[in-house]
Subunit: 327 residues, 2 copies
């Protein structure tokens, strides 16, 4: 069966790392057809909108999407795209990849971030001059969905510890509802977890990340805690992510457009290739997913390396090296 | 002039470290009169409320308050008390004190956290079964006040870098208003700053804390980022804090009630004594403030030490050692 994958490189190094990852996907799995689409700052400059209807449609119609990065327009591109694929779970594995200078090399975390609500509701008002509000939304439906996804993910991937981040001592009603939903799902599944205040968890992750596994988070908590954890493994450079919905999904590196090196052809494509591996897994191509992941990790371990990892290789040389390691 | 200081030990080790810090204050400065008041879990059990009207009144009438910690009722005690003293700025210096095992010993940060609004508004609603909202409030008045306080603090204390945390790419209207207010104040004062997304800042603080100085934050960002930073200097154990209002203020260690060691008489009183030093400074007793700070740091450096720092000393022995170092 052929799968259709939408490819949205975006801006900056997105235009370098996404093509490299597409070449790797192509080499790993002949059954994917690619459809290209545009979004981001350059698209806005050309067409007046960062995310044209055409791109939304391409992404909606595809079986999955590989996205790169967007510049100033990032929020106007990635938030709607997450919603176009119906994504309710943002999956962010954080570990120290070979070749990285990591503060906490033992880190092996996966953030399962609620991806539809919280302070990302988009509901803001001006009450009177100088007084504005934002409506944080928390529902049973989204809270149960993310809890269920998190417990299932932990089971499937052999993590024995699930931590649930919250701030229910202050956001009593909303995070209280979130915690009640988590508790119901855990009872139904017979799954264990610890609830931790997000502030205390921020400190614990810095001091003790190796003691944690899967971390289920409300939207903003997941945003901040996963970036914090990235700091423990040498930064966002190598981190992939998945935005999972019931019938569609979008995969993206956690890093941005890196304007300082964009255009130089030396961007590290590892995060995007690892995101492509998550995409293969999502499409059910488990063997190929493993092959890509192992090839990328092999190159990270043995070289060649891009300048961010102390080497001199180009994005194209990394692509060739990864493709060369595929069976 | 005699100052009246309210003393609210609270629960757990609060009942051990606060008396020790009061002894130090007493030894350092004879012009303080202490008034004791109760709050916390034990108070709730005895009187049905965690924060009796009597305690509010004592705190409101005093020139300043030294608070310890509260257990389960922490939010019901500390949030109203911050508001009783009219505190709009929560000041959290984070650095590695001598004797601490710190991941990032060069850290010298001060979080200036907005202390009245944001998601701490307390406005939550049930919209329908399974759907709840929280109203995040951001105003010109509170945003300008915290920015002004932050810039003044940086100037007064010789910090040349001010960073402002926000999430205005997602919370466009509310954090947009916050950033506009900061910009106005910076123009008025001729002060420089960098605005950084709170997620990116979480990563940067982990990787690069020594590059930062004063960090001005909305309420929840300050809660999470200051705990994160505590992780870089060995935890909350030694960190003091101040809640500053226009005519009153409350001082508290950042740590909690430590139920695992409460009652053993071995709690480390350093954070509370350093909070007492901030209190002396607030009351204008600068020389005495420095004397207390230096005495505490001297004991941390040379011992005796409590068990959390690898020693065997009791809270009382630390008190005696600190008092012994005062002029
Ligand atoms: C660009 C921004 C809207 C986005 C978010 O807040 O989700 C980013 O920080 C991320 O984590 O993917
Ligand atoms: C106890 C809690 C309400 C409080 C807060 O969120 O402000 C605490 O985490 C703190 O940082 O002092």
């Amino acid at each position: 069966m052929t799968h259709e994958v939408a490819v949205v490189p975006g801006d900056g190094i997105g235009r370098e790392v996404v093509p490299a990852a597409v070449d790797v996907l192509d080499a790993a799995d002949a059954s994917i057809e690619f459809v290209h689409a545009e979004a981001g700052d350059a698209t806005k400059a050309e067409r007046g909108e960062a995310l044209p209807e055409e791109t939304r449609k391409t992404v909606a119609d595809a079986d999955a999407t590989l996205f790169g990065a967007a510049g100033e327009t990032a929020a106007d591109v990635i938030l709607p795209l997450r919603s176009v694929v119906g994504s309710y779970a943002n999956v962010r594995p954080v570990r120290a990849y070979p070749g990285t200078d990591a503060l906490a090399p033992e880190t092996d975390l996966v953030f399962i971030r609620e991806n539809t609500e919280g302070v990302y509701s988009g509901i803001e008002s001006e009450i009177t001059a100088g007084v504005r509000t934002l409506t944080r939304v928390v529902t049973d439906e989204a809270s149960e969905a993310i809890a269920d996804f998190g417990f299932a993910y932990a089971e499937r991937n052999g993590y024995d510890r699930v931590t649930v981040a919250h701030k229910a001592n202050v956001m009593t009603a909303t995070d209280g509802l979130f915690l009640d939903a988590v508790e119901r799902v855990s009872q139904r599944r017979g799954a264990a977890y610890d609830a931790e205040l997000m502030d205390a968890l921020a400190m614990e992750l810095v001091m003790n990340s190796e003691a944690y596994g899967v971390v289920v988070c409300p939207n903003l908590a997941g945003d901040v805690l996963s970036d914090l954890a990235a700091g423990l493994v040498g930064g966002l450079g190598m981190l992939p992510s998945a935005n999972i919905g019931d019938e569609n999904a979008l995969f993206e590196p956690v890093h941005g457009t890196a304007p300082d090196i964009a255009g130089d052809g030396v961007a590290n494509p590892a995060a995007t290739m690892l995101s492509a591996a998550l995409l293969l897994e999502y499409l059910g191509h488990h063997a190929e997913a493993n092959q890509v992941r192992e090839a990328v990790e092999g190159v990270l371990a043995d070289g060649p390396r891009t300048p961010d990892l102390g080497g001199t290789a180009s994005t194209g040389q990394i692509r060739d090296a990864v493709v060369g390691r595929l069976p």
